[in-house]
C-alpha cells in the first residue's frame, strides 16, 4: 500500500495543479505533495527494514532495501527543492523572466508557473516508478519517461540556448536509452531460454536474480555493454556526458538540482541492478573492468573542464559527472566494500548537491549572471547567508574531511586498493586532488574579496531556509548517520555485492 501511496501522490499533485487557477494554491499543492511523499518514502523504508521486501500486485511493484533507499533519496531531493522552487520562481517572476515569449506585452507568468508545477511532480513520479518497478522493462519505460517529462523543463526559459540544450538532451538521451532498451531485450532473451516465455514475471528482478547464473553467457555479455552505454548516458558518463552541462545550465535551478541528484541516482540504480545480474552470470571481472573504465574516464574528463570553467552551473554539472564517475568506480571495484562506498557516496551526494545548486541560484539571481568571471568576488558581503554556505558546500562536494563525501570517497579508494586495481586508485587520487583545487579556486574567487558596492540582497526565507537546513544536514551527516538509514544502506549494499 505504501508503494501505491508513494506513486499516487505526485500524480495527484500533477492533476490538481493543472486544475487550480492561482499561484498560491499551486505552491501549496507542490509543497504539500513533497512533504507527504517524503513521509511515504520514510514509512516505506521503515517497512522494508522490518520485513525485508515489500511487494504489491503480485510482485509487479516491489521494494527491497535498494529501492527503498533510492526512493528515499529521490523524495529527499524533491522535498529540498520544493520550498526553494517557490522562492526561486517568485523572484524570477519579479524579475520578469517568466513572461510568455509569444506576446511581448504580456507579463502573466501563470502559464510558465503552471508548466513548472505540473511537470515537476510528473518527473518525480517517473523516478519513483523507476525504483519500485520489479519488471526491468517497466523500469526502462520509467527512466525514459523521466527524460520526456523533463524536456520542457529544460526549455523552461524559451531562450535559443535552452532549445539547443533540450535538443541535445532529447537526442543523446534518446539514443542512449534505445541502447538500454536493446540491452534489456537481450537480457530478456538470455533469461528467456531458462525461464520460458510469455510469463509476466520473466523480466522481474526478483525472478531474474534467482536464475542469473544459468543465463546465456554470450548474450548477457552483449546485453551488459548496451546497458552500460544506455544507462551510462542517462547518468552522464563520459564520453556520453555532453548533454549534461547544457541541460543543467538552462533548466531552472530546482530542476537542475533534481537532475543532478535524483535522476543520477535512478540511472546508477538501474546500472547497479543489471551489474548484479551480469556479475552473477559471468563473474564479477567482466562488468568490473568496463565500469572502472567508464568511471575513471568520467572523473578524468571532468578535471580540465572544472579547472577552466567560466560558468558556475556548468562547474556543478562537471562536478556531478565527477561524482557519478566515483559512484560507478565504487560499483566497479566491487565487493561488499565497493557497493557500500557507492551507496554512501550516493546518499551524501544527494544531501550536498542541492545545497550547491541553491547557493549558486541565489548568487545568480543576485548578480543577474551565471558567469564566474563577471561576479568577480565579494559575494560574501552581499549575500551573508548564502555565500559562506556555498563555500561550505564546495568543500563538502570535493570530499574534504570531515564531510560525508570524504568518508565515502575514502571508502571507494580503499575498495580500489584492496582489489587488483591499485593503479586505478592512484590515478583517481590525482584526479580528485585536481578537482578539489579547481572547484575550491573557482568558488572562492566569487565568494571572497572586497565588497563591490552592490546593495545587500533582501532576505527571502523561501530561498535561505533550505540553504541553511541543508548546510546543517551536510555538517551533521559528516559525523552521524541515523542508525536505521545506515541499516538500509547496508542492506542495499548486500543486494549489490553478489557472490556467484
Amino acid at each position: 500500500m505504501l508503494i501505491l501511496l508513494l506513486l499516487s501522490i505526485p500524480l495527484l499533485a500533477c492533476g490538481l495543479t493543472a486544475l487550480v487557477r492561482n499561484r498560491r494554491s499551486m505552491e501549496a499543492i507542490h509543497l504539500a505533495s513533497a512533504v507527504v511523499s517524503f513521509g511515504a518514502a520514510v514509512l516505506l523504508a521503515g517497512e522494508v527494514l522490518r520485513q525485508g521486501t515489500v511487494s504489491l500486485f503480485n510482485g509487479f511493484l516491489f521494494a527491497d532495501s535498494l529501492s527503498a533507499l533510492a526512493a528515499l533519496l529521490t523524495a529527499f531531493a524533491t522535498l529540498a527543492c520544493a520550498p526553494y522552487a517557490i522562492g526561486y520562481l517568485r523572484r524570477e517572476e519579479a524579475d520578469q523572466r517568466l513572461a510568455p515569449s509569444s506576446d511581448s506585452h504580456g507579463t502573466d507568468a501563470l502559464p510558465k508557473l503552471r508548466m513548472y508545477y505540473t511537470l515537476t511532480p510528473l518527473f518525480v513520479f517517473c523516478m519513483f516508478l523507476a525504483v519500485v518497478a520489479n519488471n526491468l522493462g517497466v523500469m526502462w519505460v520509467a527512466v525514459e519517461s523521466t527524460t520526456l517529462a523533463s524536456i520542457f523543463l529544460v526549455t523552461f526559459y524559451g531562450r535559443p540556448t535552452s532549445l539547443e540544450a533540450a535538443w541535445k538532451y532529447a537526442m543523446i538521451g534518446g539514443v542512449g536509452l534505445s541502447m538500454a532498451l536493446f540491452g534489456t531485450v537481450l537480457t530478456y532473451y538470455s533469461a528467456h531460454q531458462v525461464l520460458g516465455g510469455e510469463s509476466m514475471s520473466a523480466l522481474n528482478w526478483s525472478v531474474l536474480v534467482a536464475h542469473a547464473p544459468q543465463f546465456d553467457k554470450s548474450v548477457m555479455r552483449l546485453a551488459f555493454i548496451f546497458i552500460l552505454l544506455g544507462f551510462g548516458t542517462k547518468a552522464g558518463m563520459a564520453p556520453m556526458h555532453t548533454w549534461k552541462p547544457d541541460a543543467y545550465n538552462e533548466a531552472p535551478i530546482p530542476i537542475a538540482a533534481l537532475m543532478a541528484t535524483a535522476v543520477l541516482n535512478c540511472a546508477i540504480y538501474a546500472l547497479a541492478r543489471f551489474n548484479a545480474l551480469t556479475a552473477l552470470c559471468l563473474g564479477p571481472a567482466f562488468s568490473s573492468r568496463l565500469l572502472i573504465l567508464f568511471g575513471l574516464l568520467s572523473v578524468g574528463v571532468a578535471v580540465p573542464f572544472i579547472l577552466v570553467q567560466r560558468s558556475a552551473r556548468r562547474l556543478l554539472a562537471y562536478s556531478s559527472i565527477d561524482n557519478g564517475g566515483i559512484m560507478v568506480l565504487g560499483l566497479g571495484f566491487g565487493g561488499p566494500l565497493g557497493a557500500l562506498a557507492m551507496l554512501l557516496h550516493m546518499t551524501y551526494h544527494t544531501v550536498t548537491k542541492p545545497l550547491l545548486f541553491f547557493c549558486v541560484g541565489n548568487a545568480q539571481q543576485h548578480t543577474k549572471s551565471d558567469s564566474l568571471r563577471a561576479a568577480a568576488g565579494g559575494l560574501i558581503h552581499a549575500l551573508p547567508i548564502t555565500a559562506p554556505m556555498l563555500m561550505l558546500g564546495a568543500l563538502a562536494v570535493t570530499g574534504t574531511p570531515p564531510f560525508g563525501l570524504f568518508q565515502s570517497e575514502f571508502m571507494v579508494l580503499r575498495a580500489g586498493f584492496a582489489g587488483p586495481y591499485m593503479g586505478v586508485a592512484i590515478v583517481l587520487v590525482a584526479f580528485l586532488v585536481a578537482i578539489f583545487c579547481g572547484i575550491f579556486h573557482q568558488i572562492s574567487q566569487i565568494v571572497l574579496g572586497p565588497p563591490r558596492g552592490v546593495p545587500r540582497e533582501p532576505n527571502c526565507p523561501w530561498k535561505t531556509v533550505p540553504v541553511v537546513v541543508l548546510s546543517i544536514l551536510v555538517i551533521l551527516t559528516g559525523f552521524w548517520l541515523p542508525a536505521p538509514l545506515y541499516q538500509l544502506i547496508d542492506g542495499a549494499a548486500r543486494i549489490l555485492a553478489v557472490h556467484p
Binding site: 509487479f60 519488471n135 522493462g137 517497466v138 526502462w140 519505460v141 525514459e144 519517461s145 520526456l148 524536456i151 520542457f152 526549455t155 524559451g158 535559443p160 540556448t161 532549445l163 539547443e164 540544450a165 533540450a166 535538443w167 541535445k168 532529447a170 537526442m171 534518446g174 539514443v175 534505445s178 532498451l181 536493446f182 534489456t184 531485450v185 537481450l186 530478456y188 532473451y189 528467456h192 531460454q193 516465455g197 510469455e198 510469463s199 509476466m200 520473466a202 523480466l203 554470450s218 548474450v219 552483449l222 552541462p245 547544457d246 545550465n249 573542464f305 577552466v308 570553467q309 567560466r310 556548468r314
Partner: protein, 228 residues
C-alpha cells in the same frame, strides 16, 4: 498440408520481410525528400507489424497481435501523420546536404550490415530446434543492422525532423530484435514502450516546431552556441 500451415514457409516470409526492412532503411539513408523519408518510415513500420502478425500466426502467440496492433496505430498512423502535418506546416521539403554524401553513406550502411552479421553470428546455434533461436539468426542480424544504420543516419542528418525519424527507426530495429528473438517482451512492457514512443514523438515534434520558430530553420548544426 497447405503452405500457410507450414512453419518453414512462415520463417521464409519473415526473412523476406526483414530483408525488405533493411532495404527500406538503406533507402532512407540516401533519401533527401523529407515526406518520402516519413513515408518510408511508415512503410517500414507496416512491414514490421506484418512480421509480428506472421510470428503470432505461426506460433499461436495471440498477444503478439496486440503488439502488432499497437505498432500499426502508433508508428504507421499516428506519428507519420503528425510528422507530415508538421513538415507541411513548417514548409521544409528537402534535406540539406548531409555531412557524408550519398555513395559513401550507402557503403557505410553496407559495412554496418556486415558488422551486424558478425555480431549476430555469435548467437547462431544450428543444432537447436526450430523456434526462436533458429529464426533469430538472420532477423537478429537485420535488427542490429537497422539499429546501427539508424544511429549512423542520426549522426549524418542535420534536419531536426530527419534526426527524429532516424531515432524512431533505431527503435524499429529493437522491436524487430524483440519479436524475432523472444516473441515480444511481456505485454506490459510492450505497452509502456509504445506509450513512450508516442509521447516521445509528440514531444520531439513540438521541440522541432519551437526550434523552427526560434531559429527560422530546422538545421540543427546551428545549435552550436553551448560549449565547454
Amino acid at each position: 498440408m497447405h503452405f500457410w500451415q507450414d512453419a518453414q514457409f512462415g520463417n521464409r516470409m519473415i526473412t523476406l520481410m526483414a530483408a525488405l526492412l533493411l532495404v527500406l532503411q538503406i533507402m532512407m539513408v540516401t533519401q533527401r525528400w523529407l515526406i518520402t523519408s516519413i513515408r518510408s518510415f511508415a512503410l517500414q513500420s507496416l512491414l514490421l507489424a506484418c512480421i509480428a502478425n506472421t510470428i503470432a500466426y505461426y506460433n499461436n502467440a495471440p498477444y503478439i497481435y496486440a503488439a502488432a496492433a499497437l505498432m500499426l496505430v502508433v508508428k504507421v498512423i499516428l506519428l507519420p501523420v503528425h510528422f507530415e502535418r508538421l513538415a507541411k506546416r513548417i514548409e521544409v521539403h528537402q534535406e540539406i546536404e548531409p555531412l557524408v554524401n550519398a555513395p559513401i553513406s550507402v557503403i557505410t550502411a553496407g559495412l554496418l550490415t556486415l558488422l551486424a552479421y558478425v555480431v549476430a553470428e555469435a548467437f547462431h546455434r544450428p543444432d537447436e530446434r526450430v523456434g526462436a533461436a533458429s529464426l533469430g539468426h538472420n532477423t537478429l542480424a537485420v535488427a542490429i543492422a537497422i539499429f546501427l544504420i539508424g544511429f549512423f543516419m542520426m549522426l549524418n542528418r542535420r534536419k531536426a525532423l530527419s534526426q527524429v525519424l532516424a531515432l524512431l527507426s533505431m527503435e524499429n530495429g529493437i522491436f524487430l530484435a524483440a519479436i524475432s528473438l523472444t516473441y515480444g517482451m511481456p505485454m506490459i512492457v510492450e505497452v509502456g514502450i509504445f506509450f513512450d514512443v508516442l509521447v516521445g514523438g509528440i514531444v520531439l515534434a513540438i521541440l522541432v516546431h519551437q526550434i523552427r520558430d526560434t531559429f527560422d530553420s530546422m538545421d540543427v548544426s546551428r545549435l552550436s552556441r553551448l560549449k565547454g
